[in-house]
Amino acid sequence: MSDSLTSPALASLEDISLSLGHRTILRDVSLTLYQGSILTVIGPNGAGKSTLLRILLGLQQADSGHVYRRAGLRIGYVPQKVQIDNHMPLTVQDFVQLGRKKRAPHLTQVLNEVGASHLLSASVQSLSGGEFQRVLLARALLRDPQLLVLDEPAQGVDVNGQAQLYQLIDRLVKEHQFSVIMVSHDLHLVMANTDKVLCLNQHICCSGHPEDVSNHPEYMDLFGDSSATAGIGVYTHHHDHAHELDGHICPLNGDACKAQTHE
């Protein structure tokens, strides 16, 4: 991206290495996050993706290397596993406002934006995987972030929901102009929306534009090339309708779908 060269970095990692015991978790990893761009980190299980994010966020110390975050950088973080003890009575509206000092005047607007306004007074323990991810996004948005850090945002979400969630993230980025660093295990799902992909397996195997990465020999080694996956014969089909979050059916061609009655 041309403006990457001119706009100052929001955050960066330089030569980050980390071992736990005798196991190398990360080796000489560097990356830079620029204003308004989406960076996706992909890699197999145990590649050190989440650890990389934790180091960037200052939640974990690296053995060596340098972490830079611009002073006063507002970060919205969507962590991987959020389990809230059943003993805590907590509604969605209380949960999303935990990250703020004052009550949010634009709370319903933000919940609307992520498609979770109908969950306002639902208890957090009653949410489905997809609903919870939207609520976590809302909590991050309420902090008016400059950088959004998403750790496997689509995990625990069914396939249709995953695509929707990535579309939502894409739309939010376009509207809010924040930068995103996101961890994902599926390049194809994020391919359309990401500016740069970083393929991680302890070290950076390859990086670049999504199409380039998906043809890179190291990527193919890790994930198998696309002709091989095509051989498995994944059944793809298209629906002529989709479901709103509350279960209402809406036609795919119509863009507005507001609380229609279900036949």
Binding site: H87, D94, G99, R143
Partner: protein
Amino acid sequence: MNDGLADFIIRALAAGILVALLTGALGVFIIWRRMAYFGDTLSHASLLGVSLGFVLGISVNISIIAVSLIVALLMAAMQHKRHLSNDTLLGILAHSSLSLGLVALAFVEGVKVDLNAWLFGDILAVSSQDLGSFALMTVLVLGTLLFIWKPLLSLTVHEDLARVEGVNVTLVSTVYTLLVALTIAIGMKVIGALLISSLLVIPAAAARKLSRTPGEMTIISMLIASLAVCLGFLTSYLWDTPTGPSIVLMASLIFVILHILPINRGQ
């Protein structure tokens, strides 16, 4: 006139309610953060404070507080070491410090220590001086809890998220641990080292079904704990049962009743 008698009953009840307010409020975080065993360990260890007070010839109240605070800080520091599982570590610490306390008491000469009173509480022995300092500490502890409420709640829900959002997790959870230590130090005299942690857990657990928000649950837990103290006091007065255990039994009874009743405000 018998107002000396009435006085010490009122003092005892007042002290019991102060302890109930403290354990009720701090207890919700104990169960949210799954720290029940932590409270147990801390209260067992605080018995060491009693022994130390006698051995060193200093005020027992002060030595209990000092030992509780030191043990609490030690445990907070040890939580980051992962060689042993937390449960194992706490189990070792709880019973070795309890035993150390009991052994040390055996060396105290000339003073007859009523062990029962420290293990199960002696609410009727609360002096007006005790009551004054309990009241002061209650205000201090509840005031501090109110002050750290939001960050504490945030780190209880998700520690990493709280940290990223700017909460000083280490500071806030250390302050909370110290508040628990102070509460146990106060509660030991009233309800005893072996039973105080039950007042941290039972009222809070009982409050769950009646509450829709964390704040509600805290208030209801404080009320249930106070009710348990009053009812326990009453049974103790009517049937001459030991006060500390009666209070705990009443708290358990409230818990069981609330769990049998088909009510559920908090889903």
